[in-house]
Symmetry: C2
Subunit: 180 residues, 2 copies
């Protein structure tokens, strides 16, 4: 099993809360173990903790991290680092090599990313060379990385579980859980 952690840079309190929440939810749904947030904003941690209670799993958000320190620590312990940026090399040529990595940190920024990130990353990868969205880039990258197997991930201990339907909505409640 691959270990994936997302490092989120450039979060501005108020302006970026929804975007960063979507980054975290995407990372969680697609099988990352957690997100490191370069900001003192604690609201994202709380939101994701509420999502875990309802929908299961143990995805974490750790706020107020120092990016340089986290990247160094990750690399020193044998992990690799992939920075998603429209300026990088196209996904297609690199994804097979990245798939072999066991511990992967994925960096997603906002508008401005320090030049040092480009130098510290093992890969700078572009998901198209057009401007779009860090949420979209993360989603496509994680989907390609895991060849769709993340869709089979089982979220344990959630209060709620969706029953897939062709029409309409159906949600099953798990009444056996103690914390409900």
């Amino acid at each position: 099993m691959k270990k994936i952690v997302v490092l989120r840079l450039g979060h501005r309190i108020n302006r970026d809360q929804r975007m960063t929440t979507h980054v975290a939810l995407t990372a969680r749904a697609l099988g990352a173990e957690g997100m490191l947030l370069v900001s003192s904003d604690k609201s994202i941690e709380q939101k994701i903790s509420d999502v875990n209670k309802r929908w299961g799993g143990s995805f974490y958000v750790r706020s107020d991290v120092k990016w340089k320190c986290e990247i160094k620590k990750w690399k020193e312990s044998g992990g690799k680092v992939c920075h998603l940026t429209m300026y990088g090399i196209g996904l297609e040529s690199e994804i097979n090599a990245i798939r072999d990595i066991k511990d992967l940190m994925i960096i997603v920024g906002a508008e401005k990313v320090p030049a040092e990130i480009f130098a510290m990353a093992d890969w700078n990868i572009a998901i198209t060379h057009q401007p779009h969205s860090e949420v979209a880039a993360l989603a496509i990258f994680m989907d390609r990385l895991q060849k769709g197997e993340e869709h089979l991930k089982d979220f344990k201990n959630g209060k709620l579980q969706i029953v897939a339907m062709r029409r309409g909505k159906k949600v099953k409640e798990n009444k056996n859980l103690k914390h409900l």
Copy 2:
């Protein structure tokens, strides 16, 4: 060539401007021809028009549309409709059938989507059954739909073009364009 249009529901002025801009930019980068927006908010049209000037292509945003009317018109002219929702059927089992469709409308909502949408759509498709992001769902769906070929899309007439790099940023300016 497939024709893809995105229909964006549930946009609230102010609160959703960045998220809807990311939906539009993702649709554009991944090869949709345009986005229909169920809101009178004209700011998204302007933002995307600016992006086209700088980065090329002819992606459009049409605001203030009536969703029921647009879906009906689309279906009457032979198009199919796919609604992305965490309550739907998993992507894997349906994507091959959807790939054969020539004219496809992709519906992405916000938190609340009218029940009628579930009934009117030809497919209700889930990109995982966990809550995450309409931007992520659209990105993965479009990437799977086109098997990555959208990454080869050429954006013509842009002022700027990225030169892919392993480290750092390089942008080429197209000086031959009249509108610059």
